[in-house]
């Protein structure tokens, strides 16, 4: 239609509640993200281990199948803290790789394309923006971490003898909490990196580098200084220490759990600080 054949009309309808606005970012981000077949493939691959675990739990309680495989009841490894500790490590790694894949594209394009003034000239705050982006990543990571973990726990609880649930009530809480903390940490780190590194490939490299380089430096410090405190630079190592504590699993590290928690909290706080410094309508040159 020609340009001048329509006249401007104001909008006079109702408005949506404020609390739902961050979810708009989530919806639009998913529309864009799920156009990538690579992401869909990565998500499907991330579901392989939980499916294998579900099959394992089912088989370990199924007399017919155990007989078929010529196994005695009780010969399969137990579904306990150790089982879910390993689950957390495997799915935690999957979440980490997904973060490196998705994270860099969350905030950086808004900076590159100057979109920040568009968001913040509307009734939409910086906190709501960060919350929306955080939800986007956390929901996806939850799909491969604590959600399958809790489902596995539910499957085990439903088919194991009733005393198992009574003995392992703490495990459900640990599964949720341990993996939820990991998703928050990864999401905050990814957002902070994405906000400061505009080039997506470089941002992905930084996200990977924070963990690999941290672990490498930590090991080097441990070897040279003959200490174990270099491991404080190893974020995934610190998460493993926390997980081991939560799943009552013996780990071979000398780092106390409270110190590992402190490192994770400091990392999250640093990421939030970096985000607060960067996520602004425009850059001020003083």
């Amino acid at each position: 239609m020609a340009i001048y054949t329509r006249s401007y009309k104001p909008y006079l309808g109702p408005l949506t509640p404020r609390s739902t606005r961050p979810l708009i970012l989530v919806r639009y981000s998913y529309t864009r993200l799920f156009q990538s077949k690579f992401l869909v493939l990565a998500l499907a691959l991330s579901a392989c281990y939980p499916l294998a675990c579900a099959a394992f739990i089912y088989i370990s309680h199924n007399q017919v199948l155990l007989t078929l495989f010529r196994q005695q009841p009780g010969t399969f490894p137990k579904v306990d803290g150790g089982f879910f500790y390993v689950f957390s490590i495997v799915q935690g790694a999957a979440a980490y790789l997904l973060t490196a894949l998705i994270g860099p594209g969350l905030v950086a394009p808004d900076f590159t394309n100057g979109a920040m003034p568009l968001y913040f000239s509307r009734p939409f705050s910086r906190a709501e923006y960060v919350l929306g982006k955080l939800f986007t990543l956390m929901c996806l990571l939850s799909l491969v971490t604590w959600i399958p973990g809790v489902l596995l726990y539910g499957i085990q609880a439903s088919i194991a003898p009733s005393e198992w649930l009574g003995d392992n009530l703490w495990l459900g809480r640990s599964i949720f909490l341990s993996l939820f903390v990991w998703t928050i940490l990864l999401s905050l780190l990814a957002l902070a990196v994405s906000a400061w590194v505009k080039w997506r490939i470089a941002a992905a490299a930084v996200i990977l580098g924070i963990f690999f380089a941290g672990a490498g430096f930590g090991s080097a410090i441990n070897a040279v200084m003959r200490t174990s405190y270099g491991s404080l630079l190893n974020l995934s190592g610190m998460m493993h220490v926390v997980w081991a504590g939560m799943f009552r699993y013996d780990s071979d590290t000398d780092i106390p759990i409270w110190l590992a928690w402190l490192v994770l909290l400091a990392t999250a706080a640093a990421s939030l600080w970096l985000l607060s410094r960067r996520v602004r309508p425009f850059e001020v040159t003083k």
């Binding site: 239609m1 020609a2 340009i3 001048y4 329509r6 006249s7 401007y8 009309k9 104001p10 909008y11 006079l12 309808g13 109702p14 408005l15 949506t16 404020r18 606005r21 708009i24 639009y28 529309t31 864009r32 394009p109 808004d110 590159t112 394309n113 100057g114 979109a115 003034p117 568009l118 968001y119 913040f120 000239s121 509307r122 009734p123 939409f124 602004r280 309508p281 425009f282 001020v284 040159t285 003083k286």
Partner: protein
């Protein structure tokens, strides 16, 4: 009538640099032009009105809302078209405008409907399913305008809307601004360094210089006043026209080479000048309303 902008000793600092200094003025115009040389503080003033930059002292009210305490209410009422490239990557024109509408508070269905409407309105109807990143510069400017009006703001802030546009695109943009001015209950703040754009669209002008108000002018009133000032140009001999004009009450000053500057009293019209010239069989080569052009106003303001 509620003021559009009410600045009360507004000061803004970036670090130690004082960008806006004690701005105090009330603006009520339908389309307010914000003029000034580079670094005068135009964009900073806009940014402080939008809450991007907190005032270091003083305050301002936008449509009656204080920028220190009621920023969310202000942002609900305002549409902003930034100067620089601004879009969401990988979104089509309609998705981009719809998303901006939703963030402004429109329900998804209403936002989609409005997105189509405003994209047709600004002239991007045919290109609305293309990714915004593939648009030309002129189309991106129109897309920015569309996202600024999708939620039906009461105040539209346009920061250099004709920047980088070719003449037809510039004409289209100015036509849209005038149409919005005339067809809706909307105020517009137009920030530009192109005096012609401001002159063609604005009825009130605020000129800034080094963070201070250099001049404030109500163009509408000046235009009305200036219709009493007339320049005429004769072939050389005035054949007694000057004396005749004085006799009917005009102030008439010769400007040399057959030119005269005349101030018409209220009871006289241009046709009286033509009549007197015809009676003397004197051809008039040129008759113009004389008025201060915005350029003259601007240059005067810069000299002060």
């Amino acid at each position: 009538m509620q003021p559009v902008l009410d600045l009360a000793s507004l000061c803004v600092r970036f670090g130690k640099r004082e960008i806006l200094r004690e701005l105090s003025i009330t603006l009520k115009g339908r389309v307010i032009g914000l003029l000034g040389p580079n670094g005068a503080g135009k964009s900073t003033l806009i940014q402080s009105l939008l809450g991007f930059v907190p005032p270091s002292a003083g305050t301002a009210r936008v449509l009656g809302h204080d920028i220190r305490h009621e920023m969310r209410a202000i942002r609900t009422l305002v549409g902003y078209m930034p100067e620089n490239d601004a879009f969401i990557a990988n979104l089509s024109g309609v998705s981009f405008v719809r998303m901006m509408g939703e963030i402004s508070g429109l329900p998804p269905e209403a936002a989609l409907e409005r997105a189509h409407e405003v994209l047709f309105y600004v002239g991007l109807g045919e290109a609305r399913y293309r990714p915004v990143g593939t648009y030309s510069l002129g189309m991106k400017q129109l897309a920015k305008l569309a996202q600024a009006i999708v939620h039906g703001p009461r105040l539209l802030i346009l920061d250099e809307p004709t920047n980088g546009l070719d003449p037809p695109a510039r004409h289209r943009m100015l036509t849209l601004i005038r149409d919005m001015r005339d067809s809706a209950d909307m105020h517009i703040i137009l920030c530009s360094h192109l005096l012609r754009d401001v002159e063609e669209t604005c009825d009130e002008v605020l000129i800034l210089k080094q963070g201070r108000i250099a001049h404030h002018s109500n163009l509408e009133e000046e235009r009305k006043t200036n219709t009493r000032f007339v320049d005429i140009d004769t072939p050389g001999q005035d054949a007694g026209l000057a004396d005749a004009l004085r006799a009917i009450g005009c102030e008439c000053t010769p400007a040399g080479a057959g030119r005269f500057r005349i101030v018409l009293p209220p009871q006289l019209e241009l046709r009286d000048i033509y009549r007197l010239a015809a009676e003397r069989d004197l051809p008039l080569r040129r008759v113009n309303y004389r008025r201060d052009t915005l350029e003259e106003i601007f240059l005067k303001a810069m000299e002060t």
